[in-house]
Symmetry: C2
Subunit: 134 residues, 2 copies
DNA sequence: GCGTGATTACTCGGATACAAGATGTCCGAGTTTGAGCGG
DNA sequence: CCGCTCAAACTCGGACATCTTGTATCCGAGTAATCACGC
């Protein structure tokens, strides 16, 4: 099991959007060039982020994407969930009288990771990068 | 991303082996019946566990599997790694001058989960089940 | 100049192609046990 | 009763077949800005 490349693209795109001027629109073409992905594929990923309410899109000439006004600083977890889905990483699929102990352990393990990811905001990275540049 | 069914089978098999008499050999057929999997497929999974040194196999008539003498109480993490591999869940694949901040966050997040899983032993579940039976 | 229409530069969505990995099956080979059989 | 052989019950490994999912491309539709042109 691995996180998909799509998640990678989504995270990098979000980081880029957090860094740039808030109101500034960025075209999919620019974002794709930065990451060396095809624009059409990236656009599909961004559509998911739009639907999750993390970014806004403006169509037409000079259109593009920018951060959503509400929720301008999403956590890693939100982004990951928007791409990978909300389903839990482990499902027992074995119907041994409910409440599989193994499943419970796995769920709890996942929560450890999610806890960390939900507290990690994109802006933290942006700040870190700025500090490092000097 | 999701954990594979193979991991599910492996965990359940290990739990079963931990519960049964330590020296007792259990055939793949029995283990497969319990989980409603084909024996041949399960045997492939168990081979991985053997190579990881968590169980031992005895071939021939009355043969089967049992816990390894050394390492008789593996952690969840060991089992999962034996099946899923050691690779980290997230890889940046974007060669932006090393040390991708996003990657670092993801690795750290993963460590949260692995920490928990490496401290969770199969025997704990076995004890819990016994306690619950009364 | 000033509206009006055409062109251009975008996003959006569906359909489709392709690749890789997970899942599962089949079969032949090696290994041990145990039963059967002959002396 | 002893030893030999043979069949049965296993694991092991490789080679497939199949299914699902991730990755990616193509195209047509919608939308907004800008340009060109006629009045």
């Amino acid at each position: 099991m691995k996180y998909s490349k799509a998640t990678n693209y989504a995270l990098h795109t979000m980081l880029h959007l957090v860094i740039t001027e808030p109101e500034q629109l960025v075209s999919v073409h620019q974002l794709a060039d930065l990451q060396k992905v095809s624009p059409t594929y990236l656009s599909k990923i961004l559509t998911k982020l739009v639907k999750a309410g993390m970014i806004e899109s403006t169509s037409g000439a000079n259109g593009g994407y920018r951060l959503s006004r509400k929720n301008p600083d999403p956590s890693f977890l939100e982004i990951i969930h928007a791409i990978e889905g909300q389903a839990s990483l482990f499902e027992c699929s074995q119907n041994h009288n409910e409440g599989c102990l193994i499943q419970q352990v796995m769920i709890h393990a996942e929560e450890q990771m999610e806890n960390y990811l939900s507290n990690k905001k994109m802006s933290e990275l942006a700040a870190e990068m700025k500090a490092h540049q000097r």
